[in-house]
Symmetry: C2
């Protein structure tokens, strides 16, 4: 079979590349381990008729007009603006750190100018910023760090923020106004009929063949020499774990459906200091679906473990120097490959947002 | 790639065969022209959040316990019992021909015994039953034939029942009781979470690889000699139309969503004598989904035309001698094939119900 490109992984990276090249008349084979396309953006209706995000909530937002315009070829959007509340000291406090947040936390009624003074007094002077903890303390002080960030980060990564480099908490968004939108990117929204329908539109080309239920290893030897390979799987897997396994965090999801129209006040409520889960997402609040019932998901972070069926999806590359160094070994090998291109969160071992993934794929398609 | 079976078509025939052989440890490749599995039983949520049957209503019913038990491995069922009303002379009259039907049509209040006499008097004596028309007249008489069957059949097949052989109307179910169920098979119901979810469960095996968006012709030359082929596509296509194209009827579907909880009184309402469509199906009445809106589909039968995007799905083999004879030419060739097996509605040019398709696939799997 005469393919120009064999793409490993039918997530956003793979499908973006596939579609661009298919439109140029190239022949594409996409190979996907799972039984569906879409990767982690896959959504589907559950047994209660609610559209859920099977691999955790995905909220599209971008400053990148090119990415937005590309995806808009395949979907309409609702103009959803994401909001997050954080359950702290028994109250639901809007995130990120805004006038609304600080006033509610301290039961104050500060103005913009007053908040600037207030935060300036709280912020700690740290000479050398080494860790995520240092970032938070130096920007917002001990109290805000403890209440909103410290324990959430511990749950999320399984380690103390003082042991995480500054890539995890690189800054604390401080807004001296009342804008409680979680993201302020120019383009934001949910695909009007879901991510899966968007992905189905992306592959609606006779030049794209999709092979499901198929591991890369199963077809690896059969790829003709003439085809280029776009690999969006895990970097360590590609090289047979020759330098050892890379560390990832995973998530255990607990989906629950309730016979009520509304479960919580916001699409996402964070639980930094209570319970074992980090947050609860209510899907109807993002998709705007109407129903007498509502489905939520609780997220329990855990280490990725390929042998545990509940934790065998590698969601987050582990953001410490040790693991970045290990990845660098693989990266050196990857850079030597002539006909294999590595893109996406898993292959590049980087916590990319959706828009960054699409951008990488668009740029690669231009390049090759 | 070392497959034991290459299966062409991911409909019920192909997936049944695939799963049985996968469970036996065989390696399977399923090749599917469309971008989804399930063939014509495929269902999906539309843009109004209603689960629809994209290729027209499918109601599962069978007397075959083996078929029911096989499919029950992959789905639960609701215990839906199908009911059909026929819009005749401005009234909605329950189908098939029962006491309820005849009493309502004639505004009578007959008993079982009275109905027997009544129908016996109406039935026409026809010496040689040659056509579908003859069947109907001889069983139920002119009036019932005209009101319920004649025009419906004309719309459905585009020809007069007097020109259709007795396979189309082989009998008119006459019930001298008040059982208005459309089917009286022992097993009946809808897959509780839809046909697509059932099909997804069927392919949940590491031994089954699925290739979407791929015509048989595109991989035909690449199938290794060692693999057996299960072909569920159209018979004429397999042979490059060497004896000419077979005739099929197709359907144009018009889906409509209304802001009301209920559109009509029954899952299906037939319109034998009014409008250009044959029937209206309301999906919520079969799936038991709850919603403030409801989606219906109107079916407009038409001839299959591969060049008309609205009529390019071959739904029904054409039931006349001329076309059966033409199929027989292909059948003679098919019978000579050593490693290709032909099953399903398209390959066997027979209007199989779902349960018959599954049965054929089970039996073939036992045989090869």
């Amino acid at each position: 079979m005469n393919y120009d490109y064999v793409i490993v992984g039918a997530g956003l990276a793979g499908l973006t590349f596939a579609r661009i090249k298919a439109d140029e008349g190239k022949k594409i084979l996409v190979v996907e381990r799972r039984s569906h396309i879409g990767g982690n953006v896959y959504d589907s209706y559950n047994n209660d008729g609610i559209l859920i995000h099977n691999y955790g909530p995905h909220i599209f937002h971008t400053k990148d007009k090119g990415v937005y315009e590309f995806l808009s070829r395949f979907t309409e959007w609702n103009d959803f603006q994401h909001r997050v509340l954080s359950f702290v000291d028994g109250n639901l406090i809007p995130m990120p750190i805004t006038l609304e947040n600080v006033n509610k936390l301290y039961n104050l009624n500060m103005s913009t100018e007053e908040m600037k003074d207030f935060i300036a007094k709280k912020a700690e002077k740290i000479d050398e910023i080494k860790s995520s903890r240092d970032v938070a303390l130096s920007m917002a002080g001990q109290e805000i760090y403890e209440k909103f960030f410290e324990n959430y980060t511990k749950k999320q990564w399984g380690v103390d923020p003082k042991d995480l480099d500054t890539s995890v908490i690189s800054r604390i968004p401080l807004r001296y106004n009342r804008d409680t939108r979680y993201f302020t990117d120019q383009y934001q929204g949910m695909p009007k009929f879901g991510y899966t329908k968007m992905c189905e539109s992306m592959i609606a080309s006779k030049n794209i063949k999709i092979m499901l239920n198929t591991d890369f290893e199963e077809i690896r030897e059969d790829i003709p020499e003439s085809a280029q390979i776009i690999y969006t799987g895990a970097a360590d897997a590609y090289y047979g774990y020759k330098y050892g396994r890379l560390k990832y965090r995973s998530l255990k999801f607990k989906f629950e459906t309730y016979r009520m129209e509304e479960y919580q006040e916001a699409p996402v409520v964070n639980y930094p200091n209570d319970y074992d889960y980090t947050r609860i997402t209510e899907f109807k609040k993002m998709t705007w679906q109407k129903s007498d019932v509502t489905t939520i998901v609780k997220e329990f972070p855990c280490d990725y473990d390929p042998d545990d069926p509940e934790a065998d999806e590698p969601y987050y590359p582990f953001p410490t120097k040790e693991w970045k160094d290990k990845f660098a070994l693989y990266k050196a090998d990857m850079d030597k490959e002539k006909r294999v291109h590595f893109i996406g969160r898993l292959a590049q071992y980087r916590y990319y947002n959706m828009d960054a993934v699409v951008r990488t794929a668009i740029d690669l398609a231009k390049e090759v």
